[in-house]
Subunit: 450 residues, 2 copies
């Protein structure tokens, strides 16, 4: 039994939804179908989720919502008409959306969650109705009925394992289950959306809970590429990679999956396949626990991401001060700042972090506290760093790889600000100036893939 | 005004002490002379300090001390006779040592400190007497009179800055000051020895307190070499290096100076010169705050040291757990284990530490606590690691250096276990298997010096 998830562009229009239905019906194993809200039909289109946010904001500001509401419903109506579905479904959707708009706005976060979730929820109802209109045994299952339980506010939303038992029952149902992505319910029935990973998480959770043989994630690309196609010309497709490789690539700019989305599938070792709704015959990219036969390339992918900074601290005889590193990390932790790497010399330590965590205020406080509490000789913060990550399970056993990589970076004319190798067996991280990112990525790609 | 310190082999015999006196008298700036205890005269000889430890142990065990005591005094007597010094000095030394042997053994650590310090203390008295016998204005100054104040037990012995004012007065004395290295006195007059860095610290403290123009450290080599002469054939001499370079090299096996020994001179920017008592004409190695003209080599030295281990911890989504790294370091800190480097991947973190800090007990506790408190997917400890450090102020600005280094390591057939670059501007650290250390060092030396 397979769980298939279809992203926003895969369910953006009647044409796309027909492809989805064809894909699902072409393989009897495809039983649970997780759907996103209708996405963009062209690059200048607006996603339904964004229409819903606009509608929610008008409602919160006590502005007239008639037109904004109509804009949302029009998207579903157009799809339903083109698919020849009984117009009753539009009445259902209209009532649902109007009910949400009228609901309590006391807690603005929960109101917004409920409004945004309407995109996926109603698309699942509509797609289930389309299956039925074709005479296929299929039904919409809401996350409340299905048992997708999430934790209470204000903690960041995460699925609760207590829901798994009920979710597992979905595999024993007859016919196809159409399940909306992106949200779940707390034990007392409050709707909360996943703020990271969206519908991908829903699919991954269902695949794990039902012990699916495969989690198929349909999107609009044939596969994951070995490097960013916006930077490198026609990069190679990755046919197969491990979870670990995917994780390391996702960290530095490979946006196919959010970190957390893969977690449930990973924990149960359910293989994942990334496929293209518009070209379902293409093999796609398989993500597995372990490769059946080793790859002939030591590096499977190269990712780069900007937005990093270095906090540099220097103190004579630092390495004799037990607890120095711990205290430094504690100051960052007190400010809620995660760190990525901590390269260290004898008398100095750098903490590489993402600039998104920095504000002028917490930056100032961190520097001041380091000065006061650690009494360093120097402390300063440098920004405009990018991280380039080479990923591959075979790297550890390949002699000379670091040398080839460092050589390729040097040839591009960039200077290496940081090298981090030694913990992960599957990645090698270089810190470079953001200004050098593009040429470094090209040079590394040429070295390892050409 | 210069402070000169002479190491054990430089003051091991009458012949050597004559060289010391010649050196001191050949430059009027050489005013404060710090001396060690008589060291080995040949490779199978016993240092006076070791004779004193033997004597102290016999005294602590209530064994007969007559012969052990005579062995110590015989060394001084032989020197005094050969130097034709008034035999009264031997009486002074005999009384001093007998007094120490008779002193309270209630606190064994303090008794041992006092016994060991007799080596330097009496050698200073003897050398001062020799200067006087030559008609030179010179006198022995005890650390108590001079003002070399140290902290109280049980904290690790360190000099107190309160002593500096009195020490500074030494520069205004007439004639030559002969000062014993290796120990100081607490405010209430208890003798304590420096357990790390020995007499080098005394010289460095005096040079700093007296604002010396130079701290000359006389030993038995012409200079510091760019690599270990036991491994690399005839390595290049280093003419000049910075404090930072010295620190980084000292960290990984360059045993010319202990870390802490340079600290006082460093804080006051007193330049240090390492010279050879047996070849005082050789220019030696200068250690300075900043080079006057940049070196034409990016790397000034390559050091290697074994005895490292890696604690590896792996947990899916680790980098989203704020405080994970801090907690890991805290567990080590609770066990009193310092760490050297912490390379990290996306979902993993390694802590490189010195195996000398590990015991079967604390190793077991660390692993258990990591498992319980951090709930990792995996944790394990790997030993038999060596660190190889390339050091040079010019490294940061040299493109392709990491690539050349990694290439040289690969060519030696070794695999790189860890690379740490990015915090220190003057060093690049590679982790390798200890079994590969010799060939890696040779290969790196050939790459950067041949």
């Amino acid at each position: 039994m397979k769980v298939c998830k279809f992203g926003g562009t895969s369910v953006a229009s009647a044409t796309q939804i027909k492809k989805v239905v064809d894909i699902v019906l072409s393989d009897k194993e495809r039983k649970i179908v997780v759907v996103s809200a209708p996405g963009k039909r062209s690059s200048d289109d607006t996603k339904v989720t964004d229409l819903l946010i606009e509608l929610a904001n008008r409602a919160l500001n006590n502005e007239d919502t008639t037109e904004a509401c109509a804009n949302v419903i029009a998207r579903y109506e157009e799809i339903a008409q083109e698919l020849n579905i009984d117009p009753k479904i539009i009445e259902t959707i209209r009532q649902d959306i109007e009910q949400r708009v009228q609901s309590s706005k006391e807690d603005e976060v929960l109101f917004m969650d409920s409004m945004k979730a309407a995109g996926e929820d109603n698309n699942a109802k509509l797609i289930a109705a389309y299956f039925q209109s074709l005479g296929v045994e299929a039904r919409y299952v809401s996350p409340k009925e299905g048992g997708l339980l999430v934790n209470e506010r204000p903690a960041r939303v995460q699925a609760l394992p207590e829901g798994d038992e009920q979710l597992a029952k979905l595999k024993d149902e007859k016919g196809i289950i159409v399940f909306p992505g992106f949200f779940g319910f707390t034990k007392n029935g409050t709707l909360r959306t996943f703020n990271r990973g969206g519908s991908d998480i829903t699919g991954s959770l269902l695949a794990a809970a039902t012990d699916a043989t495969l989690y198929e994630n349909f999107t609009d690309v044939d596969s994951v590429f070995a490097a960013n196609p916006m930077v490198v010309d026609e990069p190679e497709a990755i046919k197969e990679m491990t979870y670990r490789e995917m994780r390391e690539l996702a960290y530095a700019g490979f946006s196919v999956f959010h970190d957390e989305a893969l977690m449930p599938a990973f924990r149960k070792s359910v293989p994942v396949c990334i496929k293209n709704t518009n070209n379902p015959e293409a093999p796609g990219t398989m993500i597995v626990s372990e490769r059946k036969k080793p790859s002939n390339r030591p590096v499977v992918g190269i990712a780069a991401d900007d937005g990093f900074a270095t906090l540099y601290v220097d103190k004579y005889l630092m390495n004799q001060e037990l607890g120095f590193g711990r205290k430094l990390l504690e100051i960052l932790e007190d400010e809620g700042i995660s760190f990525e790497h901590t390269p260290s010399g004898i008398d100095n330590m750098s903490v590489i972090l993402r600039t998104e965590y920095l504000t002028p205020e917490n930056e100032k406080r961190v520097i001041e506290r380091v000065q006061e509490e650690l009494q360093p000789d120097h402390v300063h913060l440098e920004k405009d760093l990018s991280m380039v990550v080479l990923v591959g399970e075979g790297m550890r056993h390949t002699l000379g790889l670091a040398s080839r990589a460092a050589g390729a970076i040097s040839r591009s004319g960039a200077s290496i600000q940081m090298i981090n190798q030694g913990s992960s067996e599957v990645s090698l991280v270089f810190g470079i100036l953001t200004a050098d990112e593009t040429r470094v990525l090209k040079s590394l790609y040429d070295e390892f893939f050409k």
